[in-house]
Amino acid sequence: MRDPEKSSELEETAPPGLPSFQEIRRILEERVEGLRLEFIPNPAAPDQSSFCVPTEFALETARILRDDPRFALDFCSNVTGVDWLDQTVEETILHRETTDEGERTIKEIVRRRRPGFLEAVYHLYSMRARRGPLVIRQRTANRIDRVRVASLTPIWRSAEFQEREVYDLFGVRFEGHPDLRRILMWDEFKDYPMRKDYVEPDDYEYEPTPQGEAAAKARRHYPYGGAR
């Protein structure tokens, strides 16, 4: 997935009805000053690869995506959050090296700790021109205190409740959202339940076929009887 050759190959594919990812990147970086888009390849469904947009440019980029006739993405279908925990990722880095026998490429596997972050993912379509999806993402700096991204509700109204939901369940704060409150959980609730490290209240004792974590919990709650 992180093979740079593969990645640039994937960048030549195009989302349905739109220019190729390379082209999209070129257009956007030309129109927004200072914007650098990170291409996120998606090997399983290459036409649904995505761009990571830096938070400070997100609103402007979104406006272009909606209003520029080359995109005309007037319909923001889906907004969601993803929680990425701290991870150790393996990266393959290609080196070019000149030795006595000439030039050769060396693949090197590097392990690196990637700090966790939260992500807001937007799926954009065009209703009038029947295009899409183009997927864009915004990432927070970390999972604890720097969890702000730009709200795209001013561009697409359909993001209003969905961003509230992402705030409620993941704790991503959307700057510029008109009404950022909890939506599904009650207002007094303190935690963000869709995060991967959320611990639910220990409030059930019995499950007929416990497995995995539920089995561990079952063992805590009711003792083994019979032949043990």
Binding site: M1, P16, N42, P43, A44, A45, Q48, D74, F75, C76, S77, N78, T80, V82, V121, H123, M127, R128, R130, P133, V135, W156, R157, S158, A159, E160, F161, Q162, L169, R182, I183, L184, M185, W186, P193, M194
Partner: protein, 417 residues
């Protein structure tokens, strides 16, 4: 409190005070705040009437017979007109996403049944569509036909029940809903015979369908489908030109095309506003290109158009069903190469969507190569269609809001997930 002021309060509560601000109200002294209000009256800063403490906050729901489940709207009324309406969700938040992330890909299928519990089959399909996109699996021909047939039957079921409930909200207690449920029973009988369950069908799998349909089942389906237009005629005779229905629905809850698109409204709601966008045509999935059908589009975007679109859509569904039932080939219904147990799709993500009876139903999956989805997201049409509920209701009365909500077609299982 004098009799006169009481009378005026009553009149303004009925919205009569609105018409003539210079009327009897103009020269009467400022009213004292009501001694013991039935509801809590909170002044809203800004408006003159609000300064008099005359706005009324009413919480409709979560237990209310007209909210289609446990939905709550916090309504602020000025006289009888709605000046603010805030939907409140979460009373049926059942954590589908978290639970499905904790189980394997196969284990998520029964949960999708319980999302929009009228349309379990389209829910199944939307999910397996996303998984098939993720893993690159294909379904055999006969399974594709069965999917179309069951999905369109689901659409018939959903729309007829919806119209029944909508009329129930309008005060037609019983009759239309009884008719709709009579048809529903015929359809759920078919589902039960095919899948073993009336409501929670759990029928589709990655790469096909779980069981094959017998010749007898197809025959019975044909009979039900052939009979269906009769019910539609009967229903329309009863309703379409009914004076009360016209008076209550025309011009109520208008939604413009621009706002609808921007707010991500999909399905019959969007088409009633005049946007011909149906995913079955715009980005065909399955084998929908093979069928001839039309996409009905409304003009005014009011409640009546939404009702009418659903009636017309049912007729188109009948058309699709007739073609599909004629053409369905023999063959297997499950792709033998598709794994179901110990299924690990490749690393990546996929978003699959289809035209569910309520709008665009999408599933967004992220796979990290393990047997469990890393992220499982449901894009629920009825949740997002509610974004513009307030815009549609402003300036209407509370009883109109009930109808507007009914015409959005929500199911709380899907709204709150």
């Amino acid at each position: 409190m004098s009799r006169q002021t009481e009378g005026q309060q009553f009149a303004s509560a009925l919205g009569m005070g609105n018409a003539s601000p210079e009327g009897p109200r103009g020269d009467s002294p400022v009213l004292p705040p009501p001694a013991g209000p039935l509801y809590e009256a909170k002044p809203k800063p800004g408006s003159a009437r609000a300064a008099e403490g005359e706005t009324l906050e009413v919480a409709v729901g979560p237990h209310h017979p007209s909210t289609h489940g446990v939905f709550r709207m916090d309504v602020v009324l000025d006289g009888e007109r709605i000046i603010s309406l805030k939907p409140r969700f979460g009373y049926l938040h059942r954590n589908h996403e978290k639970l499905c992330e904790g189980g394997t890909y196969l284990m998520a299928i029964p949960y999708t049944d319980r999302l929009d519990y009228f349309c379990s089959l389209t829910n199944n399909w939307a999910y397996v569509l996303a998984v098939e996109k993720l893993a690159g699996v294909e379904a055999p021909e006969r399974a594709e036909y069965l999917r179309v047939i069951t999905a369109e039957l689901t659409r018939l079921l959903n729309h007829s029940c919806l119209v029944g409930f909508l009329l129930q909200d309008m005060g037609a207690m019983g009759t239309p809903l009884m008719y709709a449920f009579r048809e529903r029973e015929k359809l759920v009988d078919l589902f039960e015979e095919l899948t073993g369950a009336r409501m929670m069908c759990n029928y589709m799998r990655f790469g096909g369908c779980r069981t094959d349909a017998s010749a007898g089942w197809l025959e019975r389906t044909r009979r039900v489908v052939d009979d269906f237009p009769r019910f539609l005629d009967e229903f329309e005779d009863l309703l379409t030109s009914n004076e009360i229905l016209l008076a209550r629905t025309q011009g109520v809850g208008k939604l413009s095309a621009e706002l609808a698109i921007n707010a991500g409204v999909t399905g019959p709601m969007l088409r009633a506003s005049g946007v011909a966008y149906d995913i079955r045509k715009a980005a065909p999935y399955g084998i929908y290109e093979r069928f001839a059908f039309r996409v009905p589009v409304g003009e005014h975007g009011d409640v009546y158009d939404r009702y009418m679109i659903r009636m017309l859509e049912m007729r188109e569904s009948v058309r699709i069903l007739k073609q599909a039932l004629k053409e369905i080939p023999e063959g297997p219904v499950l792709n033998p190469k598709a794994r179901r147990r110990n299924f690990r799709p490749p690393v990546g993500e996929a978003y699959g969507r289809l035209e569910a009876p309520k709008g665009e139903l999408g599933f967004y999956l992220i796979s990290d190569g393990s047997p469990r989805p890393y992220r499982f997201r449901i894009r629920a049409p009825s949740f997002i269609n509610l974004t513009i509920l307030e815009d549609m209701c402003l300036g209407h009365t509370l009883q109109d809001a009930v109808i507007i909500l009914g015409s959005v077609d929500i199911v709380m299982g899907e709204v709150d997930r």
